[in-house]
Symmetry: C2
Subunit: 601 residues, 2 copies
């Protein structure tokens, strides 16, 4: 047995050696076709910034050849090598690799099937000559010696805070100070890129704090670490909203971010090769003039409330889920929650816990997955105590995740969700019996694909589904056609008496949100944000193979989009930060295959 394992490892190492050697040779010879021939007919090379100054996936030998022909001379890649012993499983050899380019150092993950590459991920991790000042490059903190007119750390910070945005302009303005803006701000600070974060709420973390009181992260702690400063070992698995709020506030402080709270971004227009960004800083109008503008506005930036006849007549409380204060004043009251995704479930459960009479209105089918099952089968191999104990680091887990080509991600996820359905068959049976309409995505690929494609349509069950199954949360179905003084009326004529109506009806698109700042013309020019082009609901084609406009050059120079959950914010903030740093330093950044724009929405 040991011998077999050793033999397999040795065979894996040889295969990778041979492949990398041939790949190196082809690259050095600038022979795109020879390099392309090392890829299987079905194969995927995903590059994040290292070859393409873009985030892009090319497919098959033809795609590889095209990418290399366009980039080889500029990138001058070298030194492709393994960084640890390759491993083999189920006929796939996996190798962690590193390499250099003309701009810096990269790494990645290679999967071979036979002697051909099946997937290759390449990422640019640092710019040569602009490495982050960490570990043995960390700053000294004080300058030892005696110097006339010394400026202390506190004086420097105070001066920076006073001047930035007024007499000194930031290189980058980040509109939005949630986890996305904060993670990117931290990266930029480490890279020495002057950045200013603009946030409409007063304090970092308020975008969490201000939501309904029972909210907790549905993602577990191992998936949620911010860059540089991982959560301590005693941090709870699921952060309560106020606790993650405190963490973000502390993080922004100790990472020395320039953060303007109580500030709204009113408009941003091009001015020369930069921007004039007009903000309202707590009543004061300030015009910022950065070279780069990052919109990190959050998926929950623009609450959408359906235009239901009779809304003005309704005498009870009504509000969008984002404005729901929590259940305390609704004990004994009749609550109708319109919607059946995460917020709807959380709010229904909290209202029930507080003693309200609760009805959920399901308007369309919903993907539901139990939190425990998702943790175990969905992400446990990468993000869990078990993964950590097995040597998995956050960076490795992120890289593995990033290495799975979007084109085939659904085919990898379908078996996972089949296993989830099997494990929780009885649970799903009970939910359906209660009348709840379930789905697992249009192609049964489950939650993460729904998140990437449309950012909605699911509930990670942390307790509400049992209330739905046992009838404690009443279920109504169909579209809401009218509100009366004290009822919600559905399409089939059902009348639901109500003291409270919560619109858990989701949010507008990122593009709509952006239009409010950059104007409709420019929003149309850059087009749809998020989605892969899968042709499924809310994710119209054509296929792009990457998330539209996220973390990569858009159709508008100097305009960037950033965001996502804590995990995506953590991972992609590095690559967005490197793109911004390279531009600040005047490093050539020729973009390979900037994505075409197909949708103005």
């Amino acid at each position: 047995m040991t011998q077999t394992v050793d033999q397999k490892a040795s065979a894996a190492a040889s295969a990778v050696d041979a492949w990398l050697s041939a790949f190196r040779q082809a690259l050095t010879a600038r022979d795109a076709d020879a390099a392309a021939a090392l890829f299987a007919d079905e194969s995927y090379w995903r590059d994040i910034v290292s070859f393409t100054w873009n985030i892009t996936t090319v497919e098959g030998p033809a795609g590889v050849a095209d990418l290399l022909r366009a980039t080889l001379d500029q990138v001058d890649p070298a030194g492709f090598r393994v960084t640890e012993e390759p491993a083999e499983a189920d006929g796939v050899v996996t190798a962690w690799i590193a390499f250099e380019t003309s701009a810096g150092r990269g790494s990645g993950l290679l999967r071979l099937v036979g002697d051909k590459a099946f997937t290759l991920l390449t990422t640019l991790d640092e710019l040569a000559g602009h490495e982050e000042p960490v570990n043995d490059r960390r700053p000294k903190g004080v300058r030892h010696g005696a110097f006339r007119g010394r400026v202390t750390w506190a004086e420097r910070r105070t001066r920076e805070a006073t001047e930035l945005g007024y007499t000194v302009q930031p290189e980058v303005v980040i509109a939005g100070g949630g986890q996305g803006g904060i993670a990117l701000g931290a990266r930029l600070r480490q890279l020495g890129v002057p950045a200013l974060i603009i946030e409409r709420n007063e304090r970092p973390g308020d975008s969490w704090r201000n939501r309904y009181k029972s909210l907790a992260l549905h993602d577990p702690v191992w998936y949620d670490h911010l860059p540089y400063l991982p959560f301590p070992a005693g941090w709870p698995v699921f952060s309560p909203k106020d606790k993650i709020g405190d963490w973000l506030e502390m993080y922004a402080k100790v990472m020395e971010l320039n953060y303007w709270g109580s500030t709204t971004c009113k408009s941003a227009v091009r001015e020369g090769d930069g921007w004039a960004v007009v903000v309202d800083r707590d009543g004061e109008e300030v015009t910022l003039r950065p070279r780069q503008l990052v919109l990190a506005l959050g998926a929950s930036g623009l609450p959408v409330v359906p235009d239901i006849p009779g809304r003005e007549k309704f005498r009870g409380d009504q509000h969008h889920s984002s404005a729901h204060p929590g259940p305390d004043k609704y004990k004994g009251k009749k609550a109708v929650v319109i919607g059946s995704n995460n917020s709807a479930h959380d709010i229904c459960a909290a209202l029930w816990e507080a003693g309200a009479d609760v009805t959920m209105v399901q308007r369309s089918s919903t993907h539901v997955v139990r939190s425990e099952t998702l943790m175990d089968l969905g992400i446990g191999d990468l993000y869990s105590e078990r993964a950590v104990a097995g040597g998995m680091t956050t960076f490795k887990a992120d890289t593995i995740f990033a290495s799975l080509p979007f084109r085939i991600l659904h085919s990898l996820q379908i078996p996972v969700y089949n296993a989830i359905r099997e494990r929780d068959a009885e649970y799903y049976r009970r939910l359906e019996q209660a009348g709840f309409e379930l789905d697992f995505g249009e192609d049964d690929s489950g939650l993460f694909l729904k998140y990437l494609r449309r950012g909605s349509g699911y509930y990670i069950d942390v307790g509400a589904s049992e209330l739905v199954a046992n009838g404690d949360i009443k279920l109504a179905k169909g579209q809401v056609t009218e509100l009366t003084e004290d009822e919600v009326v559905l399409g089939d004529g059902t009348r639901l008496p109500a003291d409270l109506v919560v619109y858990a009806t989701g949010y507008g698109s990122m593009n709509q949100l952006a239009a409010g700042i950059i104007g409709q013309d420019m929003a149309d020019k850059v087009g749809k944000v998020w989605g892969l082009g899968s042709g499924t609901t809310k994710d119209p084609g054509p296929w792009e193979g990457e998330l539209r406009n996220m973390w990569k050059p858009t159709a508008q120079d100097g305009l960037w989009f950033h965001g996502g959950n804590l995990a995506l914010s953590r991972y992609y903030s590095l690559y967005l930060a490197l793109q911004l740093k390279a531009r600040m330093e005047g490093i050539p950044t020729p973009v390979y295959k900037r994505a075409a724009v197909h949708h103005t929405e």
Copy 2:
């Protein structure tokens, strides 16, 4: 060569195996003499809480036998084993060990010379059944499911903050909210011991922020980590005071400490088997009734200003170093700084940098060591980027440090300081040539021993010494006998014109500081705090072999002292927290050899 290394490693492993086997056997047989016979004639067993519920060092076979006879039946030690491959260097075999006791799990470090133990360190690391909720025991954060009357994390924290100290009494009151109180507070929170920190300053970190503006930690980052939440990789080597202040404030927040700022401890008297502690909370008098009282008041709690004739006549500014605001308003002024230790040097240098005319009055010889040299030769093997790169963890470094017996610590330090003198010979020559009176401690054992014995008498040079050597900071020597309207007069008749006098004259003893809270009688009862009993200046004998009264049971049940730099606060806070937790849980804690009290000062 490889073979020799292997052979040495194998011999080391055998020696440790044989020793541990014999030790286990003797302990199981309750044969104190057999166990004692495994120790060399000159040998030291330092126990931290695991056998003795004390911090104590016994010497030689007789000491070991005495300790074991007193503790074996209660402690029931078992399972002594190595946790990694033993190593040999210079005839000393070193082994990391682990073991169990009736109360919990312990670890330690064993050094063998030949087949006998030369040093043994044993520590209790966790109490069985009361392990910290970390990693796979971390809290879930939210309770999944649906529960009537759910209380959220924010509500629980708010309730706790409202009730604690009023309707709910803390188990522990920690007087003093600097790094000591904060580190201990974090440990207690993790262990589920309700604790309340009382701090006279408004916010955590103010004890740093409020000091002179040029202050930075003289200890490097690797030495300064707090428990649970190490500094990020980009943290500066020497934290500026305001930056460490921000870190402490953030830490107290995210570690969920109960922290009353702007609160002074007015008195503490015994009441039953606990305390009545009267505090002034921002104007409101509150009586706290904890079972345990920890004084973590800091070495800088009680500024001492010498009673110099004529002080009332002096027309310029005069203040203790702790009240020095910084140099900005003294440009072009004549400043006289009385004292020649850390604060005196820092303040002199900052005044010179701001353009003041500065004279330092050296009253007695001072130990000076260059920061760079100290980092390299003094602590670099344990706390440095190089140590980290070589696999050194903070816990291991702390443990190695703790394993060096105080009795022989000076003999280990003397060669280090001899090397320092040699490396920086020219530097020291120039300082002496400038008239600066140097010492290296009474036995030439240098800085750390001075710190432990008396907590004063040294300067870690971060730049001021060059100013002293080149005369930019003028040097005067002797005692100050008088102040006039505009002069400082020395014993030899020297008259120093002055617009500013800074008393960098140190601080009162911890015992004096404690007396202000617990009263003189109880302060006399517990006696001197800090010092080893070395018989050197300010550290009168008899020899105790441990720091008097620090982190261990005192002569007063329920009264504890905690403190030290960030490193000592980090390490010993664990063992103090375990002692407090054991008492809260009613675990028997028979104290072996509670130290006698010899000095009421």
